[in-house]
């Protein structure tokens, strides 16, 4: 992306970009609300602050470039087939928002509801998957259990033969799931924020907070102090670093998560396929690349790269499941830093500091939640109280023990 924001019209998508989607502003001395981090979550928070609550004297501060973090690194899978009621509620709220978002943001970011298959390879996988489908159905989330033959009908290039090392014993299928072009989603939010008069400020790192007793009154940045009525932290993998400046410990660990794309191929892969057990997830981008994600590296890191053996394992699994991928060349690989919680669910809510609200711990799965995060964070910032959708996800659950254990549905080994 060049500094002016989006690139000019791109032939492969048909999307015409304006020459500029947002202004480049210098920080003002004070705002009603400051959002830390211009990833999808931060931008969506600012957007719904304006749209749902009429709060527009807002700045979004970004240490790097807009949406250059995990927002531009993820494999763009959107689904809501999580196990627990709390998760189903927030992810399904997100999916419903996604369904209206291109219109709401007036931007065609290629949201494509091509469905997702979550494969089962062991008897325990089968039982857990079926349980999740029943739970989804009870929660009004579309989902069904497919036998191997039915799986092959949805995705003919998938190898469902019983001869593989970990045969496909079936899959859950969520037809409304899909993918979207992640950077375009960010730009769509950014353009709307800009039109509301919200300042999007890049290359402005928040290095600490201004406080008065137990109240946060602003942020310290590499471009000077900025007073803020309210502060929303949406810093993804770097949340502990930032919270650490207040002496606040978070129940998150930052790990590298990698993805890669192949060279461009003609359309071969009609849906999204994920496998927890052999650990790969694959879809085909609109342009034609196979987009593949792996598991996290085991160790903590902020290095934005991961180990080659993780990619090797993921590719071995992909080739076994999709024999026709065997001759595809890898075009590029990259890593992002994801913040993982002990129960594989995010933290969204209040902090011990008044006027400081936190959203973090989305681990490997926060892209799909982007609009819902914006929705509930805007509510938090505007009203000072959690929205019903994010109330169960507060920091206090680690003390009360009311964990929301989504390791089985979060789908990336961590």
């Amino acid at each position: 992306m060049r500094p002016g924001g989006a690139s000019a019209g791109s032939a492969q998508t048909g999307q015409q970009h304006a020459d500029h989607l947002w202004r480049h502003t210098d920080p003002k001395p004070s705002y009603d609300a400051v959002v830390v981090g211009a990833g999808g979550h931060g931008l969506a928070t600012a957007f719904y602050l304006a749209k749902n609550h009429g709060i527009t004297n807002v700045a979004v501060l970004e240490r790097g470039w807009l949406a250059g973090g995990n927002m531009a690194r993820n494999t763009t899978i959107i689904r809501s087939n999580y196990l627990w009621d709390e998760s189903a509620a927030i992810y399904e709220h997100a999916l419903k928002l996604w369904e209206g978002l291109p219109e709401e943001l007036d931007y065609d970011f290629l949201f494509s509801q091509r469905g997702v298959l979550n494969l089962a390879h062991t008897q325990q996988d089968v039982r857990d998957s079926r349980r999740r489908v029943y739970a989804n159905q009870l929660n009004g989330v579309d989902g069904e259990w497919l036998t191997p033959d039915e799986v092959a009908k949805v995705c003919p290039i998938l190898n469902v033969s019983p001869e593989t090392r970990y045969p496909v014993l079936g899959a859950t299928y969520q037809p409304r799931a899909g993918i979207a072009k992640h950077d375009h989603v960010a730009w769509a939010f950014a353009r709307q924020c800009d039109q509301y008069g919200i300042d999007l400020i890049q290359h402005c790192e928040v290095t600490g907070f201004l406080t008065s007793g137990n109240r946060v009154t602003g942020v310290r940045t590499t471009r000077g102090d900025i007073a803020a009525g309210r502060v929303a932290m949406t810093a993804a993998g770097h949340s502990s670093v930032l919270a650490g400046t207040l002496g606040l410990r978070l129940p998150v660990q930052s790990h590298p998560l990698q993805a890669l794309v192949s060279e461009l191929l003609e359309p071969v892969h009609p849906t999204v396929v994920m496998s927890n057990h052999v650990h790969v997830y694959v879809s085909q981008a609109h342009k034609g690349e196979l987009v593949m994600g792996a598991g996290v590296d085991s160790y903590n890191s902020y290095g934005q790269r991961g180990s080659v053996h993780v990619i090797e394992q993921q590719m071995a699994a992909a080739v076994e499941l999709f024999p026709i991928f065997a001759r595809a060349h890898v075009l590029r690989t990259w890593g992002g830093i994801v913040d993982v919680t002990p129960d594989a669910s995010p933290v969204i809510g209040l902090t011990p500091y008044e006027n400081l609200y936190i959203n973090c711990g989305w681990g490997t799965g926060g892209f799909k939640a982007t609009p819902a995060v914006g929705w509930v964070m805007a509510h938090l910032v505007a009203t000072g109280t959690p929205h019903a959708l994010n109330e169960p996800f507060g920091l206090d659950r680690f003390t009360t023990g009311a964990l929301i254990d989504e390791h089985g549905a979060a789908a990336v080994a961590h």
């Binding site: 670093v241 978070l250 930052s254 903590n300 080659v308 053996h309 680690f398 023990g401």
Partner: protein
């Protein structure tokens, strides 16, 4: 892939090792007297620094012994590796 020095076996590839997270997290001495908050800290909260980090590794596909290391979480440089009960060289952690 990282090259990791097991204090007993020497340099081996990362795939031979398992990761154990933060090192030197002692079991609370009088666990039954902890408040819920303190118990939560022990169970669920770990340091997550951007910089030197004292952590545990197990040489799972080698001597199968646990050891400690101080590694920089941005460069991945291993500043020291040391056996249980030992102190890291340079006094970090």
């Amino acid at each position: 892939m990282l090259l990791i020095r097991c204090p007993w076996c020497g340099d081996r590839e990362e795939t031979e090792f398992g990761y154990g997270g933060q090192a030197h997290v002692a079991y609370p001495p009088s666990a039954e007297q902890l408040s819920d908050d303190e118990w939560a800290q022990y169970l669920f909260f770990r340091d997550n620094p951007k910089g030197p980090f004292a952590e545990r590794w197990v040489h799972a596909a080698g001597c199968r012994r646990w050891f400690n290391a101080v590694r920089h979480t941005v460069s991945n440089e291993f500043i020291s590796v040391y056996r249980p009960g030992e102190k890291p060289a340079g006094g970090a952690a």
